[in-house]
C-alpha cells in the first residue's frame, strides 16, 4: 500500500477526531483546564522521512513513548516542548505555578502517566467506534532533541516497514500555551485492519 485513497484518508481523519476528542477530554480533566484541539492530520510517510516532518530538529521535547497491543498494534508518542514540561507538571500535581523546578522521579512518573491516560482514552474511543480493542504498554520517557527521538522511533519501525502511517493531533491549553502533540503509528497489518473496520463501520451507518 503506497498511498491512501481519499475515502481512506477521510475515514482515518474521522477516527482521529474521535480518538483525540476523548484524549483531549481526559487531558482536560487531568490538568483542570480547557483544551483546544487542532485539526488532526493523516499521512503516509517513508520511515526515513519521519524526523523531517517534525522540523526544528534541535528543539528539546519531553516525549512519552508507548507501544500499542491488542487488535491494534503500533506505537504512540505524546510530546511537549521542554519549556512547557514544568508548567504541565504543576497543573497535573496541583502545585503552585512555578513550583516544579526539577524533573525528579515523581515528575517523570507523572509525565509518563499523562501519556498513558491520554493514549488509553484515545484507544478506548477507537474501540467503541470501530470495535478493535487495544491497550497501551508501560510508558517510557525521553527528554532530548526531537530529531534524536524521532530517529530512534523510525529505526524501530524501519526494521519491519518502509512506510509509516502517521495520525497526528495537537492539543493546546490556551492560558499557559502548553502544546501537546499526539502521534499514533499503527503497524502495517493493523493499518489494513483499521481501514477494513472503518469501511464496515461507516458503510453500516
Amino acid at each position: 500500500m503506497k498511498e491512501l485513497t481519499n475515502f481512506q484518508k477521510d475515514a482515518l481523519l474521522e477516527l482521529a477526531n474521535i480518538g483525540s476528542g476523548n484524549a483531549a477530554t481526559a487531558l482536560s480533566q487531568l490538568i483542570g483546564k480547557d483544551i483546544t484541539l487542532n485539526l488532526p492530520s493523516v499521512s503516509f510517510v517513508p520511515v526515513v522521512k519521519i524526523s523531517e516532518k517534525f522540523g526544528k530538529g534541535q528543539d528539546i521535547v519531553a516525549a512519552v513513548y508507548l507501544r500499542i497491543y491488542g487488535e491494534i498494534n503500533g506505537r504512540a508518542l505524546i510530546f511537549f516542548p521542554k519549556d512547557k514540561v514544568f508548567p504541565i507538571i504543576d497543573l497535573l500535581m496541583k502545585r503552585k505555578s512555578g513550583e516544579t523546578k526539577e524533573l525528579g522521579e515523581t515528575e517523570q512518573s507523572a509525565l509518563k502517566e499523562i501519556g498513558n491516560i491520554i493514549l488509553s482514552s484515545y484507544l478506548n474511543a477507537i474501540a467503541k467506534f470501530i470495535g478493535l480493542n487495544s491497550v497501551p504498554s508501560v510508558p517510557s520517557l525521553a527528554i532530548d532533541m526531537i530529531d534524536a527521538i524521532f530517529e530512534t522511533v523510525s529505526a524501530e519501525i524501519a526494521e519491519a516497514d518502509e512506510d509509516a502511517l502517521l495520525i497526528e493531533n495537537e492539543m493546546i491549553e490556551k492560558t499557559t500555551m502548553i502544546k501537546s502533540s499526539l502521534l499514533i503509528i499503527p503497524d502495517k497489518e493493523t493499518m489494513v485492519k483499521i481501514i477494513k473496520a472503518l469501511d464496515s463501520t461507516i458503510k453500516g451507518i
Binding site: 534541535q58 504498554s137 517510557s140 532530548d144 532533541m145 530529531d147 534524536a148 527521538i149 530512534t152 524501519a158
Partner: protein, 155 residues
Amino acid sequence: MEVIRVNIGELKIAKGDLKLIAYGIGSCVVVVCYDKKEPIAGMLHAMLPERKKGEAGNKFVDSGIENLIKELINLKVSIKNMEAKIFGGAKMFDINFDGESIGERNIRKAKEVLLKKGIKIAGEDTGSNYGRTIEFNVINKTALVKSFSAGEKIV
C-alpha cells in the same frame, strides 16, 4: 568553514576545508572514516545494523560502511591510511520493548565491520541515553559532539 549535512541513510564525502555534520542522532550510528594524513573524510549516518534481503545502501551499517570505504578508495585513499571514529547508538528511551536496543546493535555491527576491514577506531562517543549532534572537522580530524544533557566533548 563550509558545512555538509549528512541525514539518515546518507553518506557524504568531503575533501579540504569542510565540516561534516549529522544533527540529532539517537539510536542511529554515525561512522566517520578519514585519511590519517590528507584532508579527506566520509561520514555515514546509518539507521539499522544489517542490510535486508534484496536491499543494500546507506541506511544499513554493514553496506553503508562498505560503500564509505569504497568511495574513499576511489579517491585514492589506501586502506592502510584509513582511520575511523564512531558516534551514537544511544538508547533514547528508559524502557526497552524489544530486548537489545537498536542503538547497541548498530554500534556492535559498526565495530565488527571496521575490525574486519582492519580499520582502527581512533575515537568514539557511543551508547548511553542522550541524543548527539556530530560536527566533524575534515582538516584536523576531530569531532565536536554536542548533546542536550551531557554537554559537549571533542573526540
